[in-house]
């Protein structure tokens, strides 16, 4: 069956090539031969601390070297899944946890790391983040990067100019601020809707604030009719209230996040607020010195009055994880495990991460985080909220199997464009639960 799968990948890719001159998912195979463990990394600055860790490791352990190859983020995401499916995965598989991790486990593509690495992970990493590396009580994925909760970023000047003196704490505050900012001629909230996934952040937080974390947990567990929970419909209605109030201006449907137009809109004073992941912080900081020193503020997502969710709940990307391929040779697996055992959030790794603005989910590093913080207090806030959160919801698109994730993105976009009612959203999403 394996070889047919490989042919199938090839067939579909080739069909895409011949039929549509498409791009993306090629299936150049990585030779599984040789005893050196292999790793595919991401060629962006967030990956630099890991890159350095591998270099340090290789210089000290000539017999357990790790061979690395780098890809752009999006091409990696597309490539890794088909490669794992075709049995061509690297020894160390970099991932985002969630549904993909469960699917890897289900199809026996990655190894159980409980006996080798559980003690390392438990001693260092916060439970809310470590927990996502477990499937059926066994450890399959080891955390490796900083945490990335979603935060409300604010341009204080835009708010005060519009007569809003405090960063919104409740949903009513937010609606009030939206009205005032709109009246002042600015866009209240920047939203990169052209990229679709920024829509998810609003939905995820609202559903959590209204109905608590169980609502979406039921969806992840695949319970029939899980989307029918009244909080989903209410959240979609509130989103449409925002849209109707003109909260996102009239260009959000084509604005994309990858060229950072959304962020520069807030930085340049064109918009008052934006809901975005903590990964955007370095951009907010570096785009304009004026902004970062005097106009920047941030806040947790507003509380919804009468909602069941804890105001300390977070959503976003937890972190990245390493898994070890079950298809790798045992020598490769041993090198990979030894690498993870030695470098997972070691002192150098922690300080390297903090240097690039990533907050590692590691216990007892308060003073280090504070030292990295400067005046803005952002890293400490991220660290404390992660340490104190009762529920850290992984992004919806990562939590759900790929077909359901795609359906959420598609239907949610239609809610934001008012071409679908909350009831239709619920109905369509329920139909995706198998």
């Amino acid at each position: 069956m394996k070889s047919f799968r490989r042919i199938a990948v090839l067939a579909l890719s080739a069909a895409m090539l011949t039929g549509t001159a498409a791009c993306g998912a090629s299936t150049s195979s990585v030779a599984a031969s040789g005893d050196e463990a292999t790793m595919w990394g991401i060629s962006d600055s967030n990956f630099a601390p890991t890159k350095q860790a591998v270099e340090r490791w290789n210089s000290r352990h000539a017999d357990q070297r790790i061979d690395t190859e780098y890809f752009a983020n999006d091409s990696y995401k597309k490539k890794i899944r088909t490669s794992v499916g075709a049995g061509n995965a690297p020894t160390l598989i970099y991932g985002w946890g969630g549904a993909t991790l469960r699917e890897y486990v289900k199809s026996n593509q990655i190894t159980d790391l409980t006996s080798d690495l559980e003690s390392t992970v438990k001693s260092k990493v916060f439970d809310s983040v470590a927990q996502a590396g477990y499937v059926d009580g066994k450890l399959y994925a080891v955390p490796t990067q900083g945490v990335q909760p979603v935060v409300l970023y604010v341009n204080k000047k835009v708010l005060t100019d519009a007569g809003v003196n405090e960063v919104p704490k409740t949903w009513d505050d937010l609606l009030d601020a939206v009205m005032k900012i709109k009246a002042s001629g600015k866009t209240p909230i920047a939203l990169a809707g052209g990229s679709q996934w920024p829509y998810l952040m609003w939905a995820a937080y609202l559903v959590d604030r209204i109905g608590g974390p169980e609502v979406f947990n039921n969806v992840v567990e695949g319970k029939k009719g899980a989307w029918s929970d009244p909080s989903v419909k209410k959240a979609m209605g509130m989103i449409q209230d925002l849209v109707k109030a003109g909260a996102f201006g009239n260009v959000y449907t084509s604005m994309t996040a990858d060229d950072r137009k959304d962020i520069s809109m807030v930085v340049n004073g064109g918009a008052g607020m934006e809901l975005m992941g903590s990964w955007a912080f370095p951009d907010f900081k570096s785009l304009s010195k004026d902004f970062s020193t005097s106009q920047f503020a941030f806040a947790p997502f507003p509380v919804v009055e009468g909602g069941k969710g804890d105001s300390k709940d977070l959503t976003g990307n937890l972190t990245n994880y390493w898994s070890v391929s079950a298809k790798a040779r045992s020598k490769q697996q041993k090198s990979a495990v030894a690498f993870l055992k030695n470098t997972t959030y070691d002192d150098t790794m922690v300080s390297d991460l903090l240097k690039i603005g990533a907050v590692p989910p590691v216990k007892n590093i308060d003073s280090k985080v504070k030292a990295a913080d400067g005046k803005m207090g952002f890293y400490s806030w991220v660290y404390q909220s992660m340490a104190n959160t009762p529920a850290f919801r992984l992004s919806w698109d990562q939590s759900l199997p790929t077909d359901q994730a795609e359906a959420v993105l598609n239907n949610l976009e239609q809610v934001f464009l008012m071409s679908q009612t909350p009831d239709q959203f619920v109905e369509k999403m329920n139909a995706t639960i198998r």
């Binding site: 699917e103 604005m255 137009k261």
Partner: protein, 323 residues
């Protein structure tokens, strides 16, 4: 007549004769010179192998895969006609089909009219023609991804040309509005491809014998009459070939749309090939994606065959009898 018999009895010819078994002897005899001189069919093997590996095998693979369930990771399981039933009742597939047809028909119309006019112009001998032809030709040199990224930024309501020149009517959210996005895409796609097609028409116009025009002039036909009575009829086969290129190209068009809108907003530009891509490589619903792939394939073959039949290209008689 240079009728050589030197190849008679040589092995290449024999092998061709063998391959041509069943062809009536008289026709073979008529083609004798050509056959005798032609190279061995074995020279076609590399091309056939490539075609087989990269076209026929994947096509069979896609048809087989459309009967299977596969998420790109786990085991591939048999699903019979399940995917077909699911896809053929999915409104997104019909939405894609509709958008693809609109894109195909409108861009065919737009491109044909523009290309014929430009082609006729470029085939003439007016002043500045050569300089202008260079400008007309430019879009053909750009990579479509670069074109897509450029237009996406040019049309950006906040940072684009509308803003730069202070033109409010250009400062609209063209790509973010479900009502306009597809039309903008059609314009950009046409802008990219009109140069190629006008080049074809230019060549065809230049092949029309001047004696036809001279005769028409003597008969008192004006420029318009010459255009409609000589130029257009003489372009018949170019028109057929070119339309096939355009229509089959539009049916499978992908890259510009993928980069500029990714199918959005609210699926208003999710043409079939994009629908297939999203199903295959975002949802990892390989079975469903394969169904859409087969639909595109069948559509392409049927349409191009139909065009061939309708236009009589398969016969291709001469249009210059008596010239």
């Amino acid at each position: 007549m240079k009728h050589t018999n030197q190849m008679d009895g040589n092995s290449p010819r024999k092998s061709i004769c063998r391959l041509r078994k069943g062809v009536p002897a008289r026709r073979l005899a008529g083609n004798r010179t050509q056959v005798a001189k032609g190279p061995s069919m074995w020279y076609a093997v590399p091309a056939l192998v490539l075609f087989g590996v990269f076209a026929v095998v994947p096509l069979i693979g896609v048809v087989v895969l459309s009967l299977m369930n596969w998420d790109g990771l786990g085991a591939i399981t048999w699903n019979g006609l399940g995917n077909w039933k699911r896809m053929l009742s999915d409104p997104l597939v019909f939405n894609g089909l509709k958008l693809t047809l609109v894109l195909t028909v409108v861009s065919w119309l737009l491109q044909t009219v523009m290309s014929v006019l430009l082609g006729v112009f470029m085939a003439g001998s007016q002043r500045y023609r050569a300089v202008l032809a260079v400008f007309f030709f430019l879009p053909l040199l750009f990579s479509s991804t670069a074109v897509a990224i450029s237009f996406k930024n040019l049309l950006d309501p906040q940072y684009g040309i509308g803003k730069a020149f202070g033109l409010p009517w250009l400062q609209q959210n063209f790509l973010g509005n479900p009502k306009t996005a597809l039309w903008v895409l059609i314009l950009v796609v046409s802008w990219c491809f009109i140069p190629l097609h006008s080049l074809l028409y230019q060549g065809a116009v230049r092949q029309i014998p001047t004696s036809l025009y001279e005769a028409a002039k003597i008969d008192g036909a004006g420029e318009m009459r010459q255009f409609f009575s000589i130029t257009l009829p003489q372009l018949k086969y170019t028109f057929a070939t070119d339309s096939t290129l355009m229509i089959v190209g539009s049916l499978t068009y992908f890259d510009l749309v993928y980069v500029m809108t990714g199918g959005g907003p609210a699926n208003s530009t999710r043409i079939l090939p994009l629908d297939m891509y999203i199903r295959g490589f975002s949802s990892y619903d390989m079975g469903g994606a394969s169904v859409v792939g087969v639909v595109i394939l069948v559509l392409g073959i049927v349409v191009s065959q139909l065009l061939n039949k309708l236009s009589g290209t398969d016969k291709m008689e001469s249009q210059m009898e008596g010239v």
